[in-house]
Symmetry: C2
Amino acid sequence: MKWTISNSLPISFDIVRSRNVLSLKELDIARKIIIIDHNVYELYKDNIPCDSTINILTINCTEATKGLDNAQLILNFFETKNILRRTEPVIAIGGGVLLDIVGFCCSIYRRGIPYIRIPTTLLSIIDASIGIKTSINHFDRRNRLGSFYPPLMSILDTALIKTQTAREISNGVAEILKLSIVVDETLFELLENNPKVVMEDKFQGDLADQIIDIAINSMISELNSNLWEQQLQRSVDFGHSFSPIIEMKNVCDMLHGEAVILDCLLSSCISFNRNLISQDTLYRIFNLIKSYNLPTYHADFYNIDLLNKALTDTMKHRDNNQFLPIPTSIGGCIIINDLTQDELLLSTITMRQLNNKI
Amino acid sequence: MKWTISNSLPISFDIVRSRNVLSLKELDIARKIIIIDHNVYELYKDNIPCDSTINILTINCTEATKGLDNAQLILNFFETKNILRRTEPVIAIGGGVLLDIVGFCCSIYRRGIPYIRIPTTLLSIIDASIGIKTSINHFDRRNRLGSFYPPLMSILDTALIKTQTAREISNGVAEILKLSIVVDETLFELLENNPKVVMEDKFQGDLADQIIDIAINSMISELNSNLWEQQLQRSVDFGHSFSPIIEMKNVCDMLHGEAVILDCLLSSCISFNRNLISQDTLYRIFNLIKSYNLPTYHADFYNIDLLNKALTDTMKHRDNNQFLPIPTSIGGCIIINDLTQDELLLSTITMRQLNNKI
């Protein structure tokens, strides 16, 4: 005797640009359950309506507190508010950490309640808002628990970026740089030619808008056909092979984009040592990173034992494969699975030399 | 500017019958990560192979401990064992509580790792093994956290039922009775004609096999087109409207099936008072429940305040609708959304009278 259960879950959601999103005017929801980052709330509370339909929980969330404790606070808020299963979508307002935690809580509360993402940082606008991943950190590991769970929609208001610090904006640029190096030469050149313009006006001008739009287009191209990661060989994992463990080790003083871009540089050095990219290309990558005030040096990226430990952990997530994306040109990459110890050591030396030479 | 993310997740898994499933011979997995109910392990440890490929975690799980603490133990085991993301499916062996918890842990660890369900109770063979629901209890509420997450497969070995107590077997029968009342007259008649035969040989004979097969067929017919519960009006929710809160209130002395069947009887009384079923049909239902030694009386089912509280909570899960399935015949039902206080009170009286009269 044998039975087969078989079906298909269609998912679809829009990512829209908007202005003055915190007025919540475009959201036709009778009772609004809002989970908002504490800092964002302090900055923008005067922009958020205050009436009997609004229920706000503010959360302090950073990579260091992206765990079960914050998730429990949020779940408890849902329970206290007696939230309905379908018609009271939770409104998540904050950076990637907040969107990831709230998304995770929504995915598991009553086996899933709807939610809307309102990203408030450059990084979350071009990254956490696009796919369907939710997560929390656990066992001191980044995103060890999570789910694939689409929001009802993501609403992007780039005006919110302007209250970010320069370092936080660079942090967001890092994920755009990552994409540009491995999948989008046009984006790379746009970034290469305009670091001062976009950084000085805090990503508020037409050029910044153009960069964000292209980055989102590129991200969607990479993600849309592989939303549930059935395919473990992913170009967007560039910069995410060695960095997760190192980021968690330095959780109080290294931002996500900083960890990612250091990993991108190390991975580019691996490419260079395989003669897959020229010295000129490697220099262009290095200089682009520098021009957005992102780090090109950190002692942990010269620590072979730590790099090995980090790659071994990442390999569990890639089902015991390295599946390491490395660039083959500006805008192109391959996924390798045969990195050797010698190569890795040599590439840390190349990275060190780059920092000394230029 | 607007983008749309759109895709579809196909899922498919088999439910197969097997014999001597605990030998694990049919599972071609290099390293076997097994989460097994402590009692099942004690009963069957001599049947389970013991070699270097086997990694066992035993869990004490009951409805009272189906929570985050047990989930953390399981997640910690995954982390300690450095489980791969795709090719080391977790093997869950136990009743519905264990299958639900392990399924939940597998659905959130690394955003989902594969798992295989091996149910060891009659109830989990015909219920927890069929759909794609996983869950844990939280905030003293049944299944408040969970996910929709299909297993790789479910393997049913009905020989395992024979070590269950008569009460536990009746507990499993309750969900079969439920199905028979609202969707399957043939199944009802088969149960009605054979209580002694199937109970005396602990569901081991051909007739028991036939009942189980029909129950699974019925369950699949009801679930397969609505796996993610996009549709909140579900016949299989018969018996699950008032019972969840009452079951949790009596978590140490009322079994799931017992709570469900009391709810089925109350819901049938509602039907009777609406003249949707005859007195004869109501008596048949009552007598069938009795004949499998299931309860037809519990003080909590006469407690109007508690019943109201229970229905209100269930309504949150049905997006503020009652969506109460009640029988219209043996094998037929409707979903109502307009139950009144008077009707509910009258039906508790009907239920009391039934118990006094027969």
